[in-house]
């Protein structure tokens, strides 16, 4: 307890031009990008006790963890988001034991509505929709995690280097970022996929990662800039630590919550983007994904044949998973960032 005087000071970034939050993930039109200012603010002593902040300054880590939990278990967004995503993770892991059909095994008797034998009915080709969904959820998580990891790693590489090194390195990386950010991800994937005719799951994730890192890099760069001038980083530099060590030991841990939020958004974004690619028919073949299910359903006239149980579940599940991830992100943002807690 050092200052009861001005609990808000230090949390309020100098007012001025465009505020934070305008740097969006490409898939969520924009906005849920975690507020960099909330984190980058100088929490100093002023905010420690009265309004706890995810303070990068050393001090009372135990208390902060306690506060984190306190707000975390009271945050409805976070709880709902995590439960939804957690549920589907469980389905992805244990689902295959619940079904006796292989996802692509066909009964050759045409399509059937949901029944006791086929919980979610069968497709035009008499394949079991439920087992397809189960394996599709797996594929979605795989693409999401891989794609999210690829882009976060790229974003970190570019963001840290640009922010920490500065100078011409920053100029060049910034230019690259600005160029890649303008090129529409999906058009890029379409044209690459168009020549390759199909993308394996790994390629799909890699390509998504390759083109969706820029906004993360931008935000990470900005954070690195502010952290780089902090005392503890200066100390580390004085003690002769190498740049990469300083970045990994001093800077990255201090924005770990931020990196996590970024990853969650990119994770959700990758799932969505993969579903577009699969829907267009450029996705992996021989593997069932939620996107290819929609592709098959649509192009085999599920709409006109009224086989609603074929296309409804995969889309609804993607909506739940990605919506759940975004909700988790927003919840965590509120927990990490006291400014948003009030509402």
């Amino acid at each position: 307890m050092t200052d009861a005087d001005a609990p808000a000071e230090g949390m309020r970034p100098a007012s001025g031009t465009a505020p934070a939050g305008s740097d969006p993930p490409p898939v969520l039109a924009h906005g849920t990008a975690p507020d960099p200012d909330g984190m980058a603010a100088q929490p100093g002593a002023a905010t420690e006790a009265v309004a706890p902040v995810s303070s990068p300054l050393p001090g009372a880590p135990k208390r902060r963890r306690h506060e984190f939990l306190y707000f975390a278990v009271r945050n409805k967004k976070l709880l709902v988001g995590i439960s939804v995503v957690g549920f589907f993770v469980l389905v992805a892991i244990f689902g295959p034991w619940l079904t006796s059909y292989a996802p692509l095994a066909t009964g050759n008797t045409g399509w059937h509505p949901p029944s006791g034998r086929h919980w979610l009915g069968t497709t035009y080709f008499d394949e079991d929709v439920f087992s397809q969904v189960v394996y599709g959820i797996r594929a979605s998580f795989e693409v999401g995690v891989l794609g999210g990891c690829f882009s976060v790693l790229l974003g970190m590489l570019v963001g840290f280097t640009a922010g920490y090194r500065g100078g011409w390195m920053d100029e060049i990386l910034n230019l690259v970022t600005n160029v890649v950010i303008v090129i529409p991800l999906f058009a890029m994937l379409l044209i690459i996929g168009g020549y390759l005719h199909q993308l394996s799951l790994l390629w799909e994730a890699a390509l998504i990662g390759m083109f969706s890192w820029p906004w993360a890099a931008r935000a990470i760069r900005a954070q690195t800039f502010t952290l780089k001038n902090r005392e503890f980083v200066g100390l580390a530099r004085l003690s002769g630590e190498s740049s990469s060590k300083i970045i990994w030991r001093e800077i990255a841990p201090n924005m770990s919550s931020y990196l996590m939020l970024t990853f969650i958004l990119l994770f959700g974004g990758a799932i969505l983007t993969a579903s577009f690619i699969d829907f267009v028919g450029l996705g992996p073949q021989g593997v069932v994904t939620l996107g290819t299910m929609m592709n098959n359903a649509f192009f085999w006239d599920a709409l006109d044949l009224h086989i609603w149980w074929w296309f409804l579940p995969p889309g609804a599940i993607i909506t739940c998973i990605v919506g759940g991830l975004y909700l988790t992100n927003a919840g965590l943002d509120e927990v990490f960032n006291p400014k948003l807690r009030s509402l």
């Binding site: 058009a187 044209i191 829907f279 929609m294 409804l312």
Partner: protein, 330 residues
């Protein structure tokens, strides 16, 4: 001011160069010859295949060294000569695209504008009251997580295939030709509603979330705090906050363009709406290389132009940037 725009323009030019180079390079870098895949379709007509092969090799300049091929490609772009579509042979790609672009714009532009304003309003409402925040916000997250094609399919299925309220396919009824008559316009609008709704609705969530967060941020700002200290009613504070938040949303618009491209393409596919997105898709499924290149190029040009327009509008609309750049009283 000049510096700012020069910088922006140079970035866009650089982006254009990168995109064109990718556009040119990908078919040449990819394993296998894309032409062979296309020509396989003409196995039954060896004469035609032979003729086409000769034509495309020449058009592609495959017989020339790479750097010459590259220069030819740029030369073609400057003359708006993008080759001939294989699928719509012998119509030039530029003409094919020209025939489709109207439909894309007619769908995309109104959807973006409507979603922008309605979404921002919703977000502002969410920031105002807790009840609304607890309903609008979760809904917005769900919308943001919805795959566009799925929502389009929902609309097409329920309002089209199941209840027959609206046509679910094509930009106008089969058998009619586009002419400026009221019957045709009515018919066109009828076909326009579902894809429009689909695009509009899908875009809403992002704006609402962004606006809500920006307003909350604004309400925390010093000027809002001072107004409250001086006893200003919440109405005034909110009005200021909304105004200040809606301006940065314009930059959000630029950043969301990539998403709109994806949304537009899959929506056109689901509703079989003959815009550039559907064209792009058809080009890919038919390995129509020139058309693919042309459609990609058009998407890039569209996005760059839109970015530039947003840059200009933003500078003009926001006094913070306008004054700092022009120094004058706007």
């Amino acid at each position: 001011m000049r510096r700012y725009f020069l910088k922006k323009i140079s970035i866009y030019l650089l982006t254009f160069w990168v995109a064109v180079t990718i556009d040119w390079g990908i078919p040449r870098l990819m394993p296998g010859n894309p032409l062979q895949v296309f020509l396989l379709k003409f196995r039954a007509q060896p004469d035609a295949a032979k003729y086409l092969q000769a034509y495309f090799y020449k058009a592609f300049g495959f017989n020339e060294p790479l750097w010459k091929q590259y220069l030819y490609y740029w030369d073609g772009i400057f003359h708006w000569n993008l080759g001939v579509s294989m699928f719509y042979y012998p119509t030039p790609v530029a003409t094919v695209i020209g025939q489709h672009i109207f439909y894309t714009m007619g769908l995309l532009v109104p959807a973006i504008i409507c979603a922008y304003f309605v979404g921002n309003r919703l977000g502002a409402m969410a920031a105002r009251r807790k009840v609304l925040d607890n309903s609008i916000l979760p809904a917005s997250y769900l919308i943001s997580g919805t795959p566009y094609q799925w929502f389009a399919m929902l609309l097409a299925f329920f309002l089209g295939a199941l209840w027959h309220l609206l046509p679910e396919s094509n930009a106008f009824a089969f058998g009619t030709t586009p002419v400026w008559t009221w019957t045709f316009i009515g018919n066109f609008l009828e076909h326009w509603i579902l894809p429009f709704l689909s695009l509009f609705f899908i875009m809403l969530g992002g704006w609402a979330i962004g606006m809500r967060n920006l307003i909350i941020y604004e309400l925390e700002s010093d000027y809002a705090h001072w107004l409250q200290m001086l006893g200003s009613p919440a109405r005034l504070v909110r009005r200021y906050a909304y105004r200040n938040a809606v301006l940065p949303q314009l930059t959000g618009l630029a950043l969301a363009l990539g998403t709109f491209v994806a949304g537009q393409i899959v929506t056109e596919i689901v509703f079989n709406y003959q815009g550039v997105g559907l064209l792009f898709f058809n080009a890919i499924t038919n390995s129509d290389i020139f058309l693919m290149q042309g459609a990609f190029l058009l998407v890039i040009i569209g996005v760059l132009v839109a970015n530039f327009v947003i840059d200009i509008v933003y500078v003009l609309v926001d006094p913070r940037t306008r004054v700092s750049m022009m120094g004058a009283e706007g």
